[in-house]
Symmetry: C2
Subunit: 344 residues, 2 copies
């Protein structure tokens, strides 16, 4: 199923969705660095075991926005860094992200990602698990080549927290008692931790004072929260063509994301029985997905979730006030606004 | 099915299987260190996400021989190291091994490991993949806390090589054209690399000359090769009670291990047709497993594989000649002999 249900609403709090809320400025400023990162990624995916670059290439090429390595590149440059170390580390960040995607697809049993068949759908579970492990190891090899124990500390911590968040997400799946707090803890761990780490290591390579490092952690974490919240909204309010994955994936997986958690909290007994059947007992049909969106609209929870994302966006924007005005600061603020305004 | 097929033969080349070929002496010498490592393992498995220590505890407690961390402890002491860093690193080695076991069970679809249900069989694929990732991250956190970039380099390289070996193993599964060389490459990567790394980091913490580090790499790699060869033999020639996994797992998975590769090479057309049906087309029954063992006995390939293992054992013993005679050197040589003589 790939039809659109619900209508994306542009949240007043995040400002009108305009072409200015894009990654364009960021890509102009660090596009050349990103090209080098992309070359490095292809180079470091190499293995004499040909299935590895084949499978890794599939997921790396399917690309996405390269948001996390972009953040490392931008953060380093924002801090005035003029060297080249940030590129290897940006590649390491993308490898960690790619490894978690490969393992996610196994865990989620997803058949589509960004509109393309997942590696799991093509090659099966086994190579996806193992190539994920390979990329994860490669990420650490890149960090070791860089030689900063501080960077290794930050990214190994992030990797452990991501895994904790993913396990916690499994535990709250199919549990309609999940709280807003429980949901926010999960996305802080599974998504925001890597955004924060990606930004933080930019400050580390630039050897900046702790205050700037902390400001970038705040920016990255808030941006990651906003990003995941919008991802979860779009799972109910996008079309597959935009989103690259089928609408309703989270519903079919029994995931308790914020729009659902809020709708359950505000629902009456009959509505709770509906959610229990669909998400706990996992008895559901396509019509139930339409009904789920109707209930979310009734309680306005998709817009409330967008509003929460917009608040995180504001936090991200404010964190950057620790830095002097610059084109890079503007671009990173624009990227934060894009994260919330995007429809894909 | 858990009946024993075939009879374990004690290879002349490896000497008579006696109680002296055991880990006893090694455990006497580093048993106290190992206790500390076990405490550290339990401590560092901790997570607020309770499923993680539950699941990790299951596989860590099911234990096995702790051979890899033992090698790190023994290697460090052999090199005259008197500090405590080797214990954290031994725990890191065990975490990497445990992570690969968890992912292996997903990949192999194994229901039993060492006579107990696998984590996968109890909790399913998803948590096994994610807890594996968690333990892998924890391993790197332990290394970062230790602070040696050289150790990080050695173990991140080993982790990448292991993943390559596991993928390569998938590729040669179900391929009856697999060569002896192809098989040896796979086990060098998936097993021997971590044994070698476990020994090498012992020399690194002791800050020994490159020659001793190289000798320990040779010892570890040869020991790992012997260990895996015997594992593969025992899969056809042990009882589930000894081995802790059902006999014939490799056959049912269509894995091309040395006793099979050799039997295929020496088989006539009719035998090749049998192997093709069972291992490529995966049409097989319990009777076919008995027939497979009969063919291996006909061509004596279980004993030939034991002989190859014994040759690696000899290489391991010789590598230790780089060190002065000591109780620790004796114990490590005894451990090598045990690896080949063991029936479990």
């Amino acid at each position: 199923m790939s039809v659109s249900v619900g209508t994306p609403s542009s949240s007043a709090a995040s400002g009108p969705a305009s072409t200015q809320n894009s990654l364009k400025q960021l890509l102009e400023l660090v596009g050349k660095d990103l090209e080098s990162v992309n070359c490095l990624i292809v180079e470091r995916m190499h293995s004499p075991v040909v299935l590895i670059p084949q499978l890794a290439g599939h997921i790396v090429a399917s690309g996405g926005k390269r948001l996390r390595p972009l953040l490392t590149l931008a953060s380093a440059r924002l801090c005035g860094y003029e060297g080249e170390r940030h590129m290897g580390l940006a590649a390491a960040v993308e490898f960690i992200h790619t490894a978690t995607l490969l393992h996610d697809d196994v865990v989620d049993e997803s058949e589509l990602r960004r509109g393309k068949p997942t590696a799991k759908a093509i090659w099966g579970n086994k190579p996806s698990v193992l190539v994920g492990d390979f990329l994860f190891s490669r990420a650490f090899q890149l960090m070791v080549a860089d030689g900063s124990l501080e960077v290794l500390r930050i990214l190994s911590n992030a990797a452990a927290v991501i895994a904790e968040g993913e396990v916690q997400q499994l535990l709250i799946a199919n549990d309609i008692e999940t709280t807003v707090e429980g949901y926010l803890e999960v996305i802080a761990a599974k998504t925001a931790a890597l955004f924060a780490a990606a930004c933080e290591i930019g400050a580390v390579v630039a050897d900046r004072p702790k205050a700037e490092q902390a400001a970038l952690v705040t920016y990255g974490r808030a941006l990651g929260m906003a990003f995941q919240l919008i991802d979860d909204v779009l799972d109910y309010a996008s079309s597959a063509a935009d989103m690259g994955k089928a609408v309703g994936d989270d519903f079919r997986d029994g995931k308790l994301t914020l729009p659902v958690v809020l709708a359950i909290a505000q629902g009456d007994e009959r509505e709770r029985a509906f959610w229990r059947r669909c998400l706990e007992e996992m008895e559901q049909s396509d019509e139930d997905l339409v009904q789920a969106v109707t209930l979310m609209q009734k309680h306005d929870t998709l817009d409330i979730a967008r509003k929460v994302a917009a608040d995180y966006c504001t936090e991200a924007l404010e964190a950057l006030e620790a830095f002097q005005p610059s084109d890079m600061r503007d671009a990173m603020q624009e990227a934060a606004r894009f994260t919330v305004a995007r429809s894909y």
